[in-house]
Subunit: 103 residues, 2 copies
DNA sequence: GGAAAATATATCAAAAAAAAAATAATTTGT
DNA sequence: ACAAATTATTTTTTTTTTGATATATTTTCC
């Protein structure tokens, strides 16, 4: 958000702050959230790139469609391990995964 | 291993192959092992850099000494999540973690 | 060489994640 | 608008990871 917009919003009585602030996350928690979010997105994009359904994707990595749905959202119940293994299973390299995580 | 050494070993009747081959790992499994290994090493090095014991380190990240010992070995029973959270907790950045993982 | 500190290993209960399966909701194609 | 396909959500069960604790082993330092 640029400072013009911020000024206008604040002038109009809005409180303006980051999501992290709002959710009251420590920097570590925030980094973790970001990593998970980006891995989730990478997973989604990989799958779309392959033009296959969550069902087909799930079969490929020997899991179930519901878990793919959760993984692509970065749901709390999905581990980093699961996301990373999934990405590897659809052809992502260590480097690609690292790049996604570092964003 | 250079090809000279390999030749000498094979001439002497040794089978020469990679650890991955020996353990019969798929490329994905191998990548996973490598990531875990490197995160484990990063964790160890961070701690040594801080010149603190596993005990002190454990207190800092709210876990126990035995789990730090396991994490620094990259034991199977330690999740990626745990290693990444631990690294973040001792000041590693997303980028540092990514770099370690990509090695 | 021996005590103290640090690290490694083992066990068990509790918590978290995964698989499995059913089904609801949404999207896509006709 | 409707049927089929896809994705999202929920619940239950099983497996894995974690924390807690005790203790064995190794390292450090005097």
């Amino acid at each position: 958000m640029n400072s013009e917009k911020r000024k206008r919003l604040e002038a109009a009585g809005w409180k303006v702050g980051s999501v992290d602030e709002f959710l009251d996350l420590t920097p570590e928690e925030s980094a973790m959230v970001a990593m998970r979010f980006n891995l989730a997105k990478a997973l989604y994009e990989r799958r779309r790139g392959l033009r296959i359904s969550q069902e087909a994707f799930a079969r490929r990595i020997k899991t179930t469609q519901p878990r793919i749905a959760l993984a692509e959202k970065g749901a709390d119940s999905v581990s980093l391990d699961f996301m990373v293994r999934s990405l590897l299973a659809v052809g992502a390299s260590k480097k690609e995964i690292a790049v996604a995580m570092a964003r």
